[in-house]
Every structure is written in structure tokens, then in C-alpha cells.
């Protein structure tokens, strides 16, 4: 294959050896593979006692809905959760990796993980891949220093905010936040506001849809409200068939199918 195969054990990171070949193939007319993206609405806000994160549940592959009920709120630590937008595989892998690193860190220090630790681990990883790891994250949690909410961009820059939205539906959701957010919200007010913002993304953005997931993080306690709102229920067809109830049954007759195969006795045995 390429020279790097002889160099010994992989050093990690991406190998860009095939880029020239891919460019040549695209020029010749071959369409490159698409990847599963979460055209998404993800939000977070800080309320009186902690942080609330929200996300929609639609995963798209171009114009097609690949998963109608995926989980976009990822576990990082018992007191830290992270919503992910962008390439689904990237958000899953990067949050899993940081979660693993934080578990080890907790064993070694004997302390609860801090949100800034998760933040720094995530941003350093994303920066070192120069934006090729397409993960846009909303990270929130409550630690000894209080509640924190951050956004992380694929290139590795971060913001610290009282309320944040990311993904293709971020504009719709931000409109709701900008008009209705205030400091010192109660838990119920916060949950309602988050649900409203996500619903706004679900109904106004094509890349977001299905249900609303919410995660409420307070000091020492977390509430994962999976499918808190289901504003897009599927209308099922009755299992008994699509006849209306007024149909009259005239005749019930069961005709057994004839056996088509005739058994010939003493026929030639199959050749082995």
C-alpha cells in the first residue's frame, strides 16, 4: 500500500496518504461516501440550581432520516453531560474517549471531575485534528466550583455562556432563548424553555426532528429525561388490516394449499 505501512506501529492520528488518489477519483466522476451527520438542534442553559441540556433526536444522512430516535446527550461523568452535533461517529467517539480519561483521572485524584477538565481534554483533542473531527458540542455540568456551560467548535475554540445552542437548528433555538431567557430560572421554567427551544428547532429546521431529550444537572443529582416530549408521534395503521369496522363478514372458508411435490418411491437416489 503506502510507505507508512512499513514504518512500524501506527502513531495515531489521521493518515492523509490517500488524499491525492481520492481527489483524482472525484475528478473522474466518482462520488465520495457520505457520512451520518446529526443535522441537529442542541441547547444548554444555566438555571438557578444547575444546568439543563436539551437535544432533538433526528440523525440524517444527507436528505434521509437515518435514525428517528437517536441519543445526542452523551455521558461524560456522573456530573457532566455533553450534547453533540456534527458527524455522529465523531461526537460518539470523542465523548467516549474523554469520559474514559476522566474515569481514570477520578480514580487517581479521588475527586469529582470538573467541567473545565472535560472542556480542556475535548478542545485539545479537537484542535490537534485541525477541525477534521467534525464534532460541535455543548458541554454542561455541575462541580465543586458551581454550574458551568460551554460550547466547543470543531476547530477547538470554546465559549462559556449562560445559554447556548449549536447545530443546524441553532438559529431557531437561539431565537427562543434570546427572547425568553433570564437569570435565576427555576427547574420547571428551565425545562419548559429548553423544550420550547428544541421544539422550535424540530419544527423549523429540516435537519432536526422527532423527539426532545432533556438532561437536568444539579449539585449531586442528575435527571436524564429521555423523550421528554414526543411532538411527532407515528400514526400507526391498525394491525388487523385497513378494513373499516363496518365491513360485514360474509363467509369464512379456509382452503388448504395442495402439496405440489409428488413423492416418487424408488426413484434414483441423488448423486453424491
Amino acid at each position: 500500500m503506502s510507505k507508512s505501512a512499513i514504518d512500524g506501529p501506527t502513531k495515531g492520528g489521521f493518515s492523509f496518504d490517500l488524499c491525492r488518489r481520492n481527489e483524482m477519483l472525484v475528478k473522474k466522476g466518482l462520488k465520495g461516501p457520505s457520512f451520518l451527520k446529526t443535522g441537529t438542534t442542541i441547547v444548554g442553559l444555566v438555571f438557578q440550581d444547575g444546568v439543563i441540556l436539551g437535544a432533538d433526536t433526528r440523525a440524517t444522512e444527507g436528505p434521509i432520516v437515518a435514525d428517528k430516535n437517536c441519543e445526542k446527550i452523551h455521558y461524560i461523568a456522573p456530573n457532566i453531560y455533553c450534547c453533540g452535533a456534527g458527524t455522529a461517529a465523531d461526537t460518539e467517539a470523542v465523548t467516549d474517549m474523554v469520559s474514559s480519561q476522566l474515569t481514570l483521572h477520578r480514580y487517581h485524584t479521588g475527586r469529582e471531575s470538573r467541567v473545565v477538565t472535560a472542556l480542556t481534554l475535548l478542545k485539545s483533542h479537537l484542535f490537534s485534528y485541525q477541525g477534521y473531527v467534525s464534532a460541535a458540542l455543548v458541554l454542561g455540568g455541575v462541580d465543586v466550583t458551581g454550574p458551568h456551560l460551554h460550547t466547543i467548535y470543531p476547530h477547538g475554540s470554546t465559549d462559556t455562556l449562560p445559554f447556548a445552542t449549536m447545530g443546524s437548528g441553532s438559529l431557531a433555538a437561539m431565537a427562543v432563548f434570546e427572547s425568553k431567557y433570564c437569570e435565576g430560572l427555576t427547574r420547571d421554567e428551565g425545562v419548559q424553555l429548553v423544550a420550547e427551544a428544541i421544539s422550535s428547532g424540530i419544527f423549523n429546521d429540516l435537519g432536526s426532528g422527532s423527539n426532545v431529550d432533556i438532561c437536568v444537572l444539579t449539585k449531586g443529582h442528575k435527571e436524564y429525561l429521555r423523550n421528554h416530549l414526543q411532538p411527532n408521534p407515528r400514526t400507526y395503521i391498525s394491525q388487523k388490516g385497513s378494513f373499516s369496522k363496518k365491513t360485514e363478514v360474509l363467509l369464512t372458508k379456509i382452503t388448504p394449499l395442495n402439496k405440489l411435490v409428488e413423492v416418487i418411491e424408488g426413484g434414483d437416489a441423488m448423486e453424491e
Binding site: D96, M97, S100, T103, L104, Y107, H108
Partner: protein
């Protein structure tokens, strides 16, 4: 001793077929503070003496029993710094297993991987064997388990075991006291009595450490207050 000519090079066998450095490592373990473990019907208990070199040492800063995963804990006899290194490596291996298979690492697997690390240090250049023996206590789908790992990298599953200074007395005591259908609380009492056997000075919640894991599959180290309660019950 005819072996003494071969006792400097780790990777050379002596004429009698021994690796003398490992023997010496076992001696280091044998002069360490006593630790023991007992497997009960519904859990495992591990315990150790925590004798500090002086009364000026802050005993709350030192914890000899360490947690490797939520359902596996470990204690040692021998050299503390070597133990620290092994704990770090084992935790990382457990986490890597979890990353790969998305299941908590089974106790036997973690013991095997730790033992492999210890064996590597008996067959590499420029390193010495670890001067610790470990007692690994865990509870997984196969039930409660107790393993001992030696500096050579060999490991055994025990119903009850002891290591360190007072090993022979402790093992004799355990042999007499151990029963198959012991409950976790009885096991803790037996562990305390066994430690008391060879204990110099007054035993208290501050100079012994006890770690338990029960049906809830959560390993935890008892606080000094809880240890005091058990001590009261035993007397």
C-alpha cells in the same frame, strides 16, 4: 549459598533452576506489613495493617487499599511505591477493556493482565521485579472472587489468604476459622481477629484498613469510624 553468584542478574537462571531476583522479591513481600483477604458467600473482604513510621505521619493521607474498578479492589504487602505503579497500570487496562468491549472487566481478566505486567518485569533488561504481592477482591457475574498475584506474575484464586510478616500464623488461623457459608459480616470479624493475632500494640480504626464488596458489587474502603464499630463488635 551456591546461588549467590547468580543473584545479581535478573534474567539468568541459577543452577538450581530458580530466578533468584524473584525469590528476593518474595522476601521483600514477606517483610512487608500483613494483609489478608477472605471470600464469603455473598462478598469479599480484604484488610491490612497500616503501621506508620511515626505518630507524626498524617494517617488520613495514606490509603493502602485501592479501588481499580467500581467492583474490584486491591491490597498489597511489600513496597508501597511499586504498588502505586501497578494500580495505575491496572486501572488503565480496566478502562481500555471497557472502551473496547463496553462491559466491565471480569475479575479474572484484570488479574491476568496485571500478572502479565508483573511477569514482563521479570523478563526484560534493566528492570527489576515488583516488590509486592497483591490481593485482588472483586465481584462480577461469576460471583465473589479473591486472587493473589506474586512478583513472578503467577496468580492463584483463594478462599482466604494472607501475606506479609505474619503469613504463617495468619494462614493457620484462617484455616481453622474459615467456613464455606460465611456471610460478609462474619468474614470481616474473622479478618479483624486474624489481624489482631500478630498485631503489635493497640489495634484501632486508624491503624488497620478494611475494604469490602458485597452483593451490590460496589467496592468500598470502610471509614475509620466503621472499622471502630466492627472492632467493638469483635471484642
Amino acid at each position: 549459598m551456591g546461588d549467590s553468584q547468580y543473584s545479581f542478574s535478573l534474567t539468568t537462571f541459577s543452577p538450581s533452576g530458580k530466578l533468584v531476583q524473584i525469590e528476593h522479591a518474595l522476601t521483600a513481600v514477606g517483610s512487608g506489613q500483613t494483609s489478608l483477604g477472605i471470600k464469603a458467600a455473598n462478598g469479599v473482604v480484604i484488610a491490612t495493617e497500616k503501621k506508620l513510621p511515626s505518630i507524626l505521619v498524617d494517617e488520613t493521607s495514606l490509603q493502602k487499599i485501592q479501588i481499580l474498578t467500581p467492583n474490584i479492589g486491591v491490597v498489597y504487602s511489600g513496597m508501597g511505591p511499586d504498588f502505586r505503579v501497578l494500580v495505575r497500570k491496572s486501572r488503565k487496562q480496566a478502562e481500555q477493556y471497557h472502551r473496547l468491549y463496553k462491559e466491565p472487566i471480569p475479575v479474572t481478566q484484570l488479574v491476568r493482565e496485571t500478572a502479565t505486567v508483573m511477569q514482563e518485569f521479570t523478563q526484560s533488561g534493566g528492570v527489576r521485579p515488583f516488590g509486592v504481592s497483591l490481593l485482588v477482591a472483586g465481584y462480577d457475574d461469576k460471583g465473589p472472587q479473591l486472587y493473589q498475584v506474586d512478583p513472578s506474575g503467577s496468580y492463584f484464586s483463594w478462599k482466604a489468604s494472607a501475606m506479609g510478616k505474619n503469613v504463617s500464623n495468619a494462614k493457620t488461623f484462617l484455616e481453622k476459622r474459615y467456613t464455606e457459608d460465611m456471610e460478609l459480616d462474619d468474614a470481616v470479624h474473622t479478618a479483624i481477629l486474624t489481624l489482631k493475632e500478630g498485631f503489635e500494640g493497640q489495634i484501632s480504626g486508624k491503624n488497620i484498613e478494611i475494604g469490602i464488596i458485597g452483593n451490590d458489587r460496589k467496592f468500598r474502603v470502610l471509614s475509620p469510624a466503621e472499622v471502630e464499630d466492627y472492632l467493638q463488635e469483635v471484642e
